[in-house]
Symmetry: C2
């Protein structure tokens, strides 16, 4: 029988695991830009040419020399001879001299000789003459070649999760495809003789598997592909067989359940049998989530999570997610929107373990209040009702009303 | 030639559109729970039975009568006769009487007669006897039947975007499938003779299409399916043809470009030709985004967005996203994580239009500072560098250092 004689602190556990294993992206592929939203950029995006590639009008109106309009007003409009019209997508052959103007649409390429555009709304057209009723300054209503990007400038770097404006910019630079990191494959094996798959009849004493489902969602949210191996009973041989198959085919393996100190705990033995260096961390001073295993087998990370579904989610977020995100190539951690500052609605205390308290966020008078959700870690609804997690360090007490940081449960 | 003689305020535009059109989910389907992450729930989820369905141990140890352990201590352990062992997934036939105990694993069903579980770590086992070294209170280390959910209780309601704990709970209630709303199909047609698809050669005066890409990402982030119709030139006949095809096959249509007051603006005429009641709003006092069209044609929403890519993104977020999310069935707006409170790094001012300022968020000393990103709305990189949008109401000035709310650009 094993016992958690020495629990590592979460910090010690992370450091020990980091010494044993460094996760790197599993590879890259090229995908059409239209399919790149949400993927992780694997290459540097550099402007091949200036963006925009030519001086453009930002309004519908008339391209002019600004100096010609210096005295223009509604009472005394300045007449200019319209010598041409810029068509969209073409470069005008016309050059505009002093006393002249060219009709130009929004986005049109500026003709030679001009330095500003007068908005159509402040002009009156009469045959071949346009009367300008308001002065413009040089550069007004114009975006210059290279104002957005200069040729050679790096705009996006590897590791960025591509947002809508990012894929727009990649398209705007003329790329039909973009290099993104492959999504790592993460196997999930849940163990336990008491588990039944949803849709099957459950006898008294049996419960429906939840971990396969919560973990699949969390893995997908980390930018990886979940490979559910289903429910395996508590037989050592069957768990070892499934773990070996998962280890061969996936980039990371998660086993759930049976990592506590009970006699029937076969997950520990199964993980130890997968390869060297084996188990790095077994037991962490975190609540919930104590019976956690962090292991490395032949260069692949292997995790043993508690069977308790709330514990498994907290441990995933704290110890598994960063590893999976690194395998997926993500290097950015955007702070805003992941962490919310709030005031604590009631006192919470952590004793010998770092406490991960599920909290609901409620806004009152412009302030977010974090209210601990009732129910221990065996209560699934505590996670469903929670908006985020508040971490209370070992041995610390957070008083009612204190300012705290809440990490949001995404998305 | 048309002119924006009267711009509606954003509020007036929303109210006018809401009077003409109410968006509703386009339908529902049943999907395996494993594929439901991120989808929008279309049915009420009610607990069919109590959860858990039986009293369970939350630790590995011995099921006992708490009263028997009242005097237990390390110096004077209480001996109890071990009369049975609970196996996972089964209900023990053994009843435990006073002076007795049953071995029980984490998650095991409590046998009859007990009211607490002693953790294994505070026991010593000798053959058929277990010595208990610490007292337990009634109910300790137990989760009672129905503690999580009572049969009949409603846990999740339609309109919720399913998160990992939600799908875990649905599985935990025994459901292999779940009803979710269909993803609405949103057609995107970009117009403009100057546009070229990425990967094609661009002549001087031509630019690469960005709007198809940014809008596809935004539509997907709204929970819908984007149906890109590609680039259509500025010919009225071609735009009408594409708009009609899009209107027939999609649940909503977005046309981009050509909704300004220029003579070549065919999008307005094309939208007007689609059906009744037609154009509801043309021109909104928002910056960027003035030349926006909100229309309804034969019961389907149709939007005309500015060709300027930054303007199109802002207008999508303000006027299109809420409609598409409602078509997708989403009824929840989770505030935390979408809006961040920050201090303004420099003064901004709105004149006759509501100003949507792109800002970057930087944390200094526990406070988020919102810094306006340089570059007008023709500058795509202003959107790439921005973390969120700060709205300045018409005619208002926000001073440097003032507290503001920034709506984050997700995800």
């Amino acid at each position: 029988m094993k016992a958690f004689t020495q629990l590592m602190t979460p910090q010690e556990a992370r450091a020990a695991f980091a010494r044993a294993y460094a996760s790197r992206p599993v590879g890259m592929e090229h995908v059409p830009v239209l399919e790149a939203f949400g993927r992780v950029l694997a290459e540097e995006i550099r402007a091949g040419t200036d963006l925009p590639a030519f001086d453009r009008s930002t309004v519908d109106g008339y391209a002019v020399r600004a100096a010609d309009t210096a005295r223009a007003s509604k009472g005394a409009p300045v007449p200019l001879a319209v010598v041409g019209e810029v068509l969209m997508g073409q470069v005008s052959a016309v050059a505009v001299a002093s006393g002249q103007a060219a009709r130009i649409p929004t986005g049109g390429a500026l003709p030679a000789g001009v330095d500003a555009v007068v908005m159509q709304e402040v002009t009156v057209r009469k045959d071949g003459t346009v009367f300008v009723e308001r002065r413009v300054a040089p550069g007004e209503n114009i975006v210059r070649r290279g104002d957005d990007l200069r040729a050679g400038e790096v705009v996006l770097r590897p590791g960025r999760r591509l947002r809508p404006p990012d894929i727009g910019l990649i398209a705007g630079l003329g790329h039909p495809e973009v290099g993104v990191f492959l999504r790592p494959r993460v196997a999930v094996i849940v163990t336990g003789d008491e588990l039944v798959a949803p849709g099957q009849p459950a006898s008294p004493g049996q419960v429906y598997d939840m971990n396969t489902y919560t973990l699949t969602g969390l893995i997908e949210a980390s930018g990886a592909l979940a490979v559910p191996f289903g429910i395996v009973g508590d037989s050592l041989q069957r768990v070892v067989e499934h773990a070996r198959a998962a280890h061969r085919t996936a980039d990371a393996v998660i086993l759930v359940g049976g990592s506590s100190v009970g006699e029937r705990d076969v997950v520990t033995d199964a993980i130890a049998a997968l390869g060297d260096p084996g188990i790095i961390v077994h037991g962490i001073a975190i609540r919930p989530g104590k019976p956690t295993i962090l292991a490395v087998a032949n260069g692949k990370p292997v995790f043993g999570l508690p069977g308790n579904v709330v514990s498994a989610m907290i441990v995933y977020d704290q110890f598994v997610r960063p590893v999976i995100e690194a395998l997926a190539g993500r290097s950015e951690e955007r702070g805003a929107g992941q962490v919310v500052r709030a005031r604590l609605a009631r006192r919470v205390q952590a004793r010998e373990r770092e406490d991960h308290v599920r909290v609901a966020l409620v806004e009152r008078g412009g302030t977010w209040w974090a209210t601990p959700v009732p129910g221990g870690s065996a209560i699934m609804t505590s996670m469903v009702l929670a908006d985020g997690i508040l971490v209370v360090p070992i041995g610390e007490t957070l008083e009612e009303g204190s300012d705290v940081e809440v990490r949001l449960l995404g998305p």
